[in-house]
Symmetry: C2
Subunit: 345 residues, 2 copies
DNA sequence: CTGAAAGCGCTAACAC
DNA sequence: GTGTTAGCGCTTTCAG
């Protein structure tokens, strides 16, 4: 690291001229090619460092047949840590690999998603992490099939590795927890089955009902897009129209809305109503009683996504197999706490 | 928008050949240069669209003297909406302008920050939004001075526009609120004065003390780096060593830690201890009583940052003055709720 | 108004 | 091992 003030950027040609070698040799040395005499390579690298040389990634990526200068990160929403925190953490992890992450928001709009993917392709990204929108367009799917992709939270049906919270298991466990406390009339507020994780969560809930000897058809449920507002209104409706003693939530933003609705309803928690929320503990740290929580490990999801993406890039580059397609599950923990208690008689 | 399957990408040369014009004309037409006959321009654009042409941003940015293909977004932490949510929202807003946002995390390490800035410069970013680390290096400062920059949350002392929450005012108001409830022994958990916003918040608190006729020197305070863990330990220490009846928090992550410590202390809120937290309402939505909150408008901060950055880019491009340097304040709202009450006798 | 040609800074064949 | 040279795909003088 040199303290020199950098003048109008030095390039490979400058270095080559200054050292009396060719640009090719400079390029090779800087890229760690074995086809250059070690001592020469060292001299070049040292000089480059002293001159404060910073390679132009644009030129590099444009020229190189393959480059991992950039990767894309495509998510539908911005207002939950499931996306924003995972994105930020991935950026941190990828930078250690010298890769810059371009962040793109689709607002769950398939057209925007396609557009975003086109733009990213135009930027010659090496690969991407994506949380697909609810209805992925065929053109989008084609675009995804052509490059290293890691799916996050949601699956789009392409043959790519994906990182998901093991929500089926968590939901099953949650229902069992409630049933174990004597609850038989359980309400579920979750995301639509059209979302891959919505379907999985609901399956977990049904599974749990069956396990506990409850008829899954008696489940009072509301499936809505994952926003706080919809969580709130769905819960108001659920509480007004059915006679549940416990509510289970399948979604982070939903949990906030559900919690608001429960509080607004005036029901005492857990005396009159038990509640299991979902998501990031930070969102609920001030709650009293602390809520029973399906705690999703966002940092772990990010680590897993970053690792799989890097593996996929390596594989793509070297023609090796690459990470296994299909789900890579991160297990959330059910943390029982004060918002769940025995069912009222 | 065409449904065609794109073959190995079409470029300006293809378009030029197919239409019997030169690449220069194609380029001009696609960039909306007035120096091309409208009907020709229209024909070119139409054809480009039909062929599913997507310009290569790398080549464009490499070639053009000025390009806004990419901007940088540099933040220290990932685990709070103050950063992650604002980043995500900015990405959304900037994409409407056709600009892609490269996200970088510094972990509040000045060396990493400098490194990140070098890398971004290497990517020929048009400008950037940055939350400077606690001690900005001189080299970093020099790098920042050479391009359009918008500061976020924290100021580094360079002549750039910045977007900040008007925390001084919010803190003053909060102290007045507490004093109005009869509290005289107030504790403050905030960020160090070395952080620009830490200093500002503390000034606001002191100002509020003076306003309320309290001696600012009686303020029991703990200034720590903004993490949940430190917020927690600082609060444990504060509660153990001093005899406060109210705690005010200056920081989002800190608030979570403080809330945890308060709960762990067993003190009844607000009967024995009043609490004012800071940050994103979603984090506290499940709290009962709902906490009195200094509610920061992250979406508004993001909008403001995106707008200023785009203005700065325009200005840089056209040589016009550009947005005013200095703070552009977004006013947080003090939302009094159940965690603050009359001081115990 | 349009075209020819020279790069942007780097990598990658292909020679030596 | 190293140098020469031709691009990557686009923008932009400079002529016409």
């Amino acid at each position: 690291m040199s303290g020199r003030t950098r003048r109008a950027s030095v390039g490979v040609v400058d270095l080559a001229r200054e050292l009396g070698v060719s640009t090719a040799t400079v390029s090779r040395a800087l890229n760690g090619s074995p086809a250059v005499r070690p001592e020469v390579a060292e001299r070049i690298r040292k000089h480059a460092d002293e001159r404060g040389y910073v390679p132009n990634r644009l030129a590099r990526a444009l020229s190189a047949t393959t480059s991992r200068a950039f990767v894309g990160f495509v998510i539908p929403y911005v207002d939950t840590p499931a996306y924003s925190a995972v994105a930020a953490e991935c950026a941190r992890l990828l930078s250690a690999d010298g890769t810059q992450m371009i962040l793109t928001i689709t607002e769950n709009d398939p057209e925007r998603e396609l557009q975003a993917l086109r733009e990213l392709t135009a930027s010659r990204i090496a690969g991407l992490v994506i949380s697909p929108s609810t209805h992925v367009l065929d053109d989008t799917r084609r675009l995804l099939e052509r490059q290293p992709v890691v799916e996050l939270h949601r699956a789009s049906g392409i043959a790519a590795p994906g990182v998901f919270s093991d929500d089926e298991r968590a939901m099953t466990e949650s229902v069992r927890h409630l049933a174990g406390l004597g609850h038989t009339r359980i309400g579920y507020v979750g995301t639509p089955e059209a979302l891959s994780n919505g379907a999985i969560r609901l399956r977990g809930v049904r599974h749990g009902m069956a396990d506990a000897g409850l008829d899954p058809d008696t489940l009072a449920m509301r499936l809505v897009e994952p926003t706080r507002e919809l969580g709130r209104s769905a819960t108001e409706d659920l509480l007004a129209r059915s006679d549940v003693t416990a509510v289970l939530v399948g979604g982070g933003s939903l949990s906030v809305g559900v919690a608001e609705a429960v509080r607004a309803s005036g029901r005492r928690v857990p005396a009159e109503l038990s509640l299991v929320v979902y998501g990031d503990p930070a969102w609920f740290s001030l709650a009293d009683p602390p809520p029973t929580l399906i705690r999703v490990e966002y940092a772990e999801l990010a680590r897993c996504a970053a690792r799989l993406l890097l593996e996929a890039l390596d594989a793509h580059h070297s023609g090796m197999p690459g990470p296994e397609p299909g789900p890579h599950l991160v297990v959330p923990r059910l943390v029982p706490a004060g918002s769940t208690g025995p069912a009222p008689d």
